[in-house]
Point group: C2
Chain length 228, copies 2
């Protein structure tokens, strides 16, 4: 089960906790404000009121055991930069940090953030594209009628070619891509897997157990297929 | 040319103006703070320092001629609600309003917003999905290698069937959907067009002038195709 820590429960952090609470993962949330902590206490249990710039507290929490740590402290640029540096130093596996500006994002990446998120900029760019031209993502994925999802190949279709699977003719779905796990030998002779995404699947390609297919179709057809 | 007004130049509004300035549209921006207006003065010309809750000012600006008006005033909930109501009353065509909470979004829709945007929540949900499982949108559209775009059918392929167009074999692209403009007769005997999106195109479908095709492929192949 994934271990995820969220530091800072502003609009971004609290909404992240809400979304994650619906998934299969363990969540730890930290905020300096008792009120913010109280606001999420009905959806998660592991919450702490603390000043996350306090290195001693961060050390005690053993956050390096977390798979992902998200720092979403907004307006106080120094706080998010400082916390990033402390956690990088303590051996955090993956640091995802919310930025307030391009410059802030550059600094965060320099001091140890693995990835930065700038919600207002990302959403502004997305809105700009959809205002100017029909944007495929708007049209297809947020359209009332269609859905674009990835799903593990259902057992019923194991080892069938795309053509034989009749995904198109019988299930009325369009396969956009297939993701396969390709085994390879590592330097120490162990088998590891890398993901291979084929965005030009041909009708003779075989659907195997463990493959994921990216399919597009009308929502009802997608639901029927998911229930196979 | 699209006419777009942006009211409020916080992180969202200013980034929206930056993105729109790269597109083919006329932009009008309004903010109460001279400093915010000054910050965008190097990228757009049509900017006003004004309190957008002032109905007289909004009336003078004749904003109902705008194709889209984006209200991105954050922390002052009453201001964004009031401006939405005023502009709805003045006959605004399309009002897109930034919300700070689910409740704020509901109120905005009630008082006339056509669409609300909650960047922190949208990005939090997207991040939550990508932390837990591989997300197709992350994989395909934001992947380093692939691109999913819609493009008008190039002249070279007018009236060819999908099979004959060789989009797959020659151009190495996967057609995800075709958008056609279907003419129909309105009640007053005029011809109008509605958009029809076929998400299950078959190899015998004909590509016609004016159609848009949604294609996915490696970025280099997409670029080659765009240059046809
Ligand atoms: N040193 C700190 N330690 C822990 N939490 C902190 C610290 N400083 C600020 N916070 C918390 O971080 C949260 C987010 O900060 P803030 O609201 O300033 O950012 P924001 O960018 O406006 O956030 P959002 O856009 O997500 O609403 C707040 O709930 C605040 O209490
Ligand atoms: N009545 C008003 N008329 C015009 N502009 C206004 C008015 N009130 C606030 N603004 C402007 O709206 C902008 C955005 O407001 P604010 O920064 O409070 O929101 P925000 O939600 O934090 O924004 P963002 O998330 O986009 O950074 C500010 O630049 C501010 O000057």
């Amino acid at each position: 089960k994934k271990q995820i820590a969220v530091i800072g429960l502003g609009k971004f952090g609290s909404n992240l906790v809400k979304s994650l609470s619906k998934e299969n993962c363990d969540i730890l949330a930290i905020d300096i404000s008792e009120e913010k902590v109280k606001d999420v206490s009905d959806i998660i249990n592991n919450i702490i009121v603390a000043d996350a710039t306090d290195e001693k507290i961060l050390e005690k929490l053993n956050l390096k055991s977390m798979d992902d740590i998200i720092i979403s402290i907004g307006n106080n640029l120094e706080a998010s930069i400082l916390i990033t540096m402390i956690l990088k130093n303590l051996g955090a596996k993956k640091l995802i940090v919310k930025a307030n500006s391009i410059l802030h994002a550059k600094i965060l990446l320099k001091v140890g953030a693995d990835k930065t998120i700038f919600p207002e900029k990302d959403e502004a760019e997305k809105l700009a594209k959809s205002l100017i031209s029909s944007n495929i993502l708007e049209t297809i994925t947020f359209s009332e009628n269609y859905s674009l999802i990835d799903i593990k190949v259902p057992k019923l279709l194991y080892n069938k070619s795309i053509l034989d699977s009749q995904i198109r003719n019988k299930y009325k779905l369009n396969i956009v891509a297939i993701k396969k796990k390709i085994p390879f030998l590592t330097e120490n002779g162990e088998t590891d897997f890398k993901e291979d995404i084929n965005i030009l699947p041909s009708s003779s390609d075989i659907l195997e157990e463990g493959d994921s297919i990216f399919i597009i179709g009308y929502k009802d057809d997608i639901i029927k297929f998911k229930n196979l």
